[in-house]
């Protein structure tokens, strides 16, 4: 195989080759990013624990449940611990554009129910004892430079303080999570602090509980607990829907629409567009070389070699494009993950992402090379030399 000829054919048309390489690179980059998003979502879903159930209003996640439900659910057999969750929806004063989630929770049952979380700085006991304390994700602490002992002002958008001031939360501990079920960018504070502020008129906002998390005892059948809890409130005042954590996450993600399929469709469209572009370029290149191919055959090169020459050229161009696109992806993965961590949990490249990007590019290269390659194999010298005259 005359490698020099292969290389010269590619570099002989520098603009065309660079454009093709660039478009393959962009496509590979896009497809990798899309794949990283979908696999991130999937990872989050599959990381769900099986011993945690979530109780929400049967109407909608946005409808609160009464506080009194906790006592009623506590005696259900198999329920080991209950933790309230309330979405706070506040804004950090110093970062108007940024966003991260805050939840009011029950400190006593929260950490023991989420063994994937570990405290990496500060003290969880300190958090439990202080009403205004909070625990923040390690990534969040890094991003804003928070340290244990700092006070973080958060302006409520759902729950506003009557004194017109932002809420103040004292950072008592920093956590890391080893599973995609809990991200590294959330702030947790006392549900009771929020509740008492509402009770005493220190703040105004809806009273109630967004979601109850039930931890079930080992060996208990989650379906039985699910049915028992649902039955408890069948006649009101508010009917509930009890789901496994996996199911809950799935519903949560699908609130955004069927994101994974949408992204897959976009990725497929990108792939198609690039396939036709590369195919067109390679067919053009093959036609241009009709005479060269005829000469090579006259010199004694076989049909197979001349076909391989075009296939290899296509693979080379697509391979270079893939390498560039993957490089771009790997370089931008970190910044992109940091920028989107709060709304695309689990974003990240894995081996599958890289293989997918490289594999698709090479497949495009192979097929695009095969079309002119097969023509080259069938071409006879007599026809090739006559065709161009």
């Amino acid at each position: 195989m005359p490698f020099k000829l292969l290389w010269r054919n590619v570099t002989g048309h520098p603009i065309r080759s660079l454009l093709t390489i660039a478009s393959v690179a962009v496509a590979v980059f896009l497809i990798c990013m899309l794949h990283a998003v979908t696999s991130g979502l999937t990872r989050t879903l599959s990381a769900a624990a099986s011993n945690r159930l979530l109780v929400q209003s049967a109407v909608s996640l946005f409808v609160d449940l009464p506080l009194s439900y906790q006592q009623k659910m506590a005696p259900v057999p198999g329920v080991e611990a209950i933790c309230k969750w309330q979405w706070f929806g506040g804004r950090y004063e110093q970062d108007k554009g940024g966003f991260f989630a805050q939840f009011g929770i029950d400190p006593e049952t929260f950490l023991p129910s989420y063994p994937e979380m570990s405290i990496v700085d500060g003290d969880y006991d300190e958090f439990r004892k202080r009403r205004t304390a909070c625990v923040v994700g390690a990534d969040l602490a890094d991003k804003y430079g928070w340290k244990v002992g700092d006070t973080v002002p958060i302006t409520g958008t759902i729950f506003t303080r009557t004194d017109g001031q932002p809420w103040q939360f004292d950072v008592a501990a920093v956590y890391r999570s080893s599973s995609a079920s809990i991200d590294q960018q959330t702030m947790w504070f006392h549900f009771d602090y929020l509740h008492e502020s509402l009770e005493t008129g220190g703040a105004i906002g809806p009273q109630g509980v967004g979601v109850y998390m039930l931890r079930i005892a080992p060996g208990t059948d989650p379906i039985g607990v699910q049915q028992a809890v649902d039955a408890l409130f069948e006649n009101g005042p508010q009917r509930v829907q009890t789901t496994t954590e996996a199911e809950f996450n799935r519903q949560f993600v699908s609130m955004l629409g069927d994101v994974p399929s949408l992204l897959q469709m976009v990725g497929g469209a990108v792939l198609f567009a690039i396939f036709f572009a590369v195919l067109n370029t390679m067919i053009m290149a093959g036609r241009e070389r009709t005479r060269d191919l005829g000469v090579l055959k006259a010199l004694g090169f076989t049909d197979r070699t001349t076909a391989l020459l075009l296939i290899a050229e296509s693979l080379l161009v697509c391979g270079l494009g893939a390498a560039l696109g993957l490089l771009l992806g790997v370089v931008l993965e970190g910044p992109f993950a940091a920028a989107t961590a709060s709304f695309i949990p689990g974003f990240g490249f894995d081996r599958g992402t890289l293989l997918l990007g490289a594999g698709l590019a090479l497949a495009v290269g192979l097929i695009s090379g095969l079309v002119p390659g097969l023509r080259a194999a069938r071409l006879t010298t007599v026809a090739a030399l006559r065709e161009v005259g």
């Binding site: 000829l5 002989g12 006259a298 090169f301 010298t381």
Partner: protein, 238 residues
Amino acid sequence: MAVAIQLHSVTKTYHRAGETLRVLDELDLAMDASTFYALMGPSGSGKTTLLNLVGGLDHADSGKLMVGADDLAALDGSALAQWRAENVGFVFQGFNLLPVLSARENVELPLLLAPLSRAQRRAQAERALELVGLADRMDHKPRELSGGQEQRVAIARAIATDPQILLADEPTGDLDRSTADQVLELLQRLNRELGKTILMVTHDPQAATYADKVIHLDKGKLGRIDDNRTASGAGARS
């Protein structure tokens, strides 16, 4: 003198738009080794077709075609490709150099098919280029060469593997008189000094005078064969 190329009742037809065109019609012809032949005839008389058959670029429909000891009808596909690589060198009218490769690299191309080291390949290509008088143009790309120089590179490429037979289809068709004469002198030298058998298609009677013998083809049939060496007058050159 040994017979290099032998045709027995060779027929070649083309089918176009329902018509059958007999391009070569039961042609009988024997060509001696180490002889320089010119092939002449009106346009469409089948000269290129004959050259392609002899060079193993195409198959005859019927008849027998022997080149050296090889029956070309028995060879096909990659075997025929390999036979071409070892036995014939081609020079076409449009200087069929690959534009992206330098003169040396063009000449090295057929050597890629021979069992040679990179250094041997290079040395052999350079030797061929020296032989055609282009030692100082080895790194030039085809577009940086004149027409005559390009054609000499093509000749260097044709002889790089040292084949016994050279086939040239109107090698001087695109060249002016004096450039054409240089190329023809080169071919004559390859025949006289290296003993190559040369079959050269030409329309130019003056080019034909460089050959030992001139074969006339007309409508796929053999016409007369002139021997320049025995003929008297301006035709003979030595």
